[in-house]
Amino acid sequence: MYTNEMLESIKKVEATRPARLEAVLAGNHPRRMTAEEKDQVLLENHPDHIKSQFAELVIGPNKGEKVPLELAEILQANPRVKSADIDLTKIDYDVDVLIIGGGGAGSAAAIMAHENGANVMIVTKLRHGDANTMMAEGGIQAADKPNDSPAQHYLDVMGGGHFKNIPELVYKLVNDAPVCIKWLNDLGVMFDKEADGTMVTTHGGGT
């Protein structure tokens, strides 16, 4: 399964694991990096921070903004569908709400629209649910515990977004998050819980 290069790399990690484990068990957690140190690592290594990986959009509502090269290529590509081939006098599907994408967000939107009386259609490339939500199985964020609050969640989101987020949207996100978890729970989503119903808290990478 692993290539030789990966196996060599794994050996290096394994060689130092006992020492690291011992240190943590003795209470010596690795020091947290400062904000500046983190920025430096990102600048040197992360494609999102390397300038040559970005192109400026020349058309569209986001004209002038810098985006990753691959995204620019997709956004500015010629359409696959030729407008001459479209005959609007023949309508195959006529719906109130068209949802593009059948993952968590698309499905939630479909349920809500349907419950409110709309005729809904989802279009999705693969099968319903073959989407990123399926891969994001490590956790979901909502300030639902007594030691947490929507305001604390707000701070976390703003920090995670390098303080560039639109405050009104973050407000909506953090204020609705617990309500949405309850909504999902009531739809039968199985969350990891303790025997008494307490949600299991896990910590994601870098948090």
Binding site: R127, L155, Y171, V179, K182, L187, D196
Partner: protein
Amino acid sequence: MENMVNIYLYGKKYEVPSNLTIINAMEYAGYQLVRGVGCRCGFCGACATIYRIKGQQELKTCLACQTKVEDNMYIATLPFFPLVKQPYDIKKVKPTEQIMMQLYPEIYACIGCNACTKSCTQELNVMQYIAYAQRGEFEKCAEESFDCVMCGVCSSRCPAGITHPQVGLLARRLTGKYLAPETEHLLARVAEIEAGDCQAALQDIMKKTAEELKEMYNNRDFEK
């Protein structure tokens, strides 16, 4: 030159580098995959695949994004399999034995051949979770089926025509809604939000400048 192996895609022979996954080998051979591949990380279940190594008796199953090619591999992909998804209203169904009988009666036609378990790409004990479903033990069925990626390979091998992934999914929904313990702290927080008790703190923090937020963020408390 890399080591090359011969594989057969839908019966046609291709020479491909031996370190590729089946998905990558198909693309190397010139296929442009529009369906039958999704996340490429073994989670979405879109790339169910059946193969046989020439000269061997055993028919094998896998996810094509998680399996390396082997010499003389005969490959057929399963981008779609006609699984049955019975519609139900989660608010109206109840976690009783009858619900499986009503929605998926074919599970009681299981002949115990265990082909589902042997073919599972996630090494789940599929026949066991179907047995739990038959007996109305939905929590056990939910746990046992939890890692299912719904690739549908089990169903393709089942002589009784059972749609195992959907049976597991129904058991998980019943468990999540009716059998798992209620989360008191969640209900309490939702009640607080609906009563407007979280508003003052939120309005307060929304007024902070980016600099003030940065200061707060870099000095925030961490939960261990």
